[in-house]
Subunit: 309 residues, 2 copies
């Protein structure tokens, strides 16, 4: 039977999905081998793809990578050790005659959420993934905005403070991901809990999940941490809305597991901070979790297949 | 002969351009009659259009208005006194059988600059007009991003400070137009020059033109004003670039007459503030001045005519 394989390469894991049409048949996860500047990654991916395909007929591979991509060329992926790499060409050389697409990972997840998740029914929306960092993707008129150098939707590096408080891994100060990612929330919590009475001082290691649970149970310090997170994220989203005037924000990633508790606060503060004519934005939770990437990559390559026929 | 008329309705003037094909044959300017909530504006526009058309054959009208527009419906135009008004329908009822388009004024100017001005040759760019306020328009893949409620590209209301220093006309604080529009530059100048030795204290009324001329001649206070303007505008543009990753910024409006003196400072500071992978953006001056709107409206309606045939 014809099958399509969606691959989502991350800095820690590689996720695979095997599809018949758009139906997910099997998933798999392997560790990302980052030795030797990531030079073994693609060959290991080929082995898994072949094994997953088995006796089926592989017709397309859609791959997502953690870095900017222009026309299938990966400009760089720090987390993998890759400098510029013509990934699409390499895969096509290995699998002649098979359709291949390569996308940025956040963009792939955005497409997944558009077609099968929280973005369904919206023509214009912005996907924000709150994980270790903050990623994003933009859909306008049902089309992905990839950006001139493959970096459309770098929402995580919007600046939300001017006091040079927190240095970001990107070299700039006070990017929103320093406050509203899982890492950012923990950073705030570790500063706010010092010398105060809070359940955050009764756990071995603070996580963003613990912070949100504590806040929901009424812990004062945890609520201050959440308020700061909401303030900074709402500020960033108001900037995005002033620029793009989208219909919806779709929020995913680990931190989004805080669910409506987070979404209600966020949408309330957003409305106060955004320009009056762009305030009416829906807030949705992402629905596909870790599978958004494989779904998005599958859909993107399927669409290219269909457009061809 | 067949003619197309581009109309650009502003809060002070209405500008008209009569075109044979894309060639501008005649321009005209009238005062905007804002009495009675702007209810006379359209009928006065019809009179001018008829007069301009003369014995030619009017085939299309492209109109720009200072407010958000969705599918030819103007959601509101404060400067004209208009609440929601089905402008496209009204014009079509008055001119049956004639092609009509209605755009937001900044968006029309953006299209003008794309086709005939500073945006020529770019697929993805953002137009910023620095006038009394700050307007903007976004082109991605040669298409205008109008926004869900007609407010795409509201660059002027990006927030560039968190100390609630300057209240904006929109009700929020520290929007970039409070610092980088002509009005904003004058506001800064009037504060910075107090009690100091500067040519800005030797003129009857400070204008942004005087400030930029003084800065270029080495006046210290004027240079501080320009530095602040550049800092705030570069901050806003870095946010736009992190979101959209465009090829170019095209800068127009009265303040842009400061030319390369402004552009060089702006592009230098922008590169320091933007995320590393979106830094490589060209800065261009707009070329059409006050005629960008009539050109853009003409082009937009011509395109609809051609797409139909």
């Amino acid at each position: 039977m014809d099958c399509i394989i969606g691959v989502d390469i991350g800095g820690t894991d590689i996720k695979y999905g095997k599809f018949y049409g758009t139906v997910l048949i099997e998933t798999r996860k392997t560790k990302t081998n980052k030795t030797d500047f990531g030079m073994h990654i693609l060959s290991e991916v080929y082995t898994e793809i072949d094994d997953l395909t088995g006796t089926d007929n592989l017709i397309a591979i859609g791959m997502g990578v953690p870095g900017p991509v222009v026309d299938g060329f990966v400009l760089g992926a720090q987390n993998l050790g890759w400098k510029g790499l013509p990934v699409k060409e390499l895969i096509r050389a290995h699998y002649p005659g098979i359709k291949v697409t390569v996308l940025n990972d956040a963009n792939a997840a955005t497409i997944g959420e558009m077609m099968f998740g929280g973005g369904q029914g919206y023509k214009d929306f912005v996907f924000i993934t709150l994980g270790t960092g903050i990623g994003g993707g933009i859909i306008i008129n049902k089309q992905l905005i990839e950006g001139t150098t493959g970096s459309g939707g770098e929402i995580g590096h919007l600046r939300v403070g001017f006091n040079n408080e927190r240095l970001c891994t990107c070299g700039l100060y006070d990017c929103v991901e320093q406050y509203a990612s899982a890492t950012g929330v923990v950073k705030s919590a570790n500063s706010y809990r010092l010398g105060r009475k809070t359940v955050l001082n009764e756990v071995e290691e603070v996580t963003s999940k613990i912070v949100f649970n504590a806040a929901e149970s009424g812990d004062e310090v945890a609520n201050e941490v959440v308020e700061e997170m909401v303030e900074k994220l709402a500020t960033a989203l108001s900037q995005v809305a002033n620029t793009l005037n989208p219909e919806a924000f779709v929020i995913g990633g680990g931190v989004s597991k805080a669910g409506d508790f987070l979404l209600n606060k966020l949408s309330k503060r957003f409305k106060e901070l955004a320009f009056f004519s762009v305030r009416d934005v829906k807030f949705e939770l992402a629905k596909l979790g870790n599978e958004a990437g494989i779904y998005g990559n599958m859909y993107y390559v399927s669409k290219e297949l269909n457009d061809e026929n």
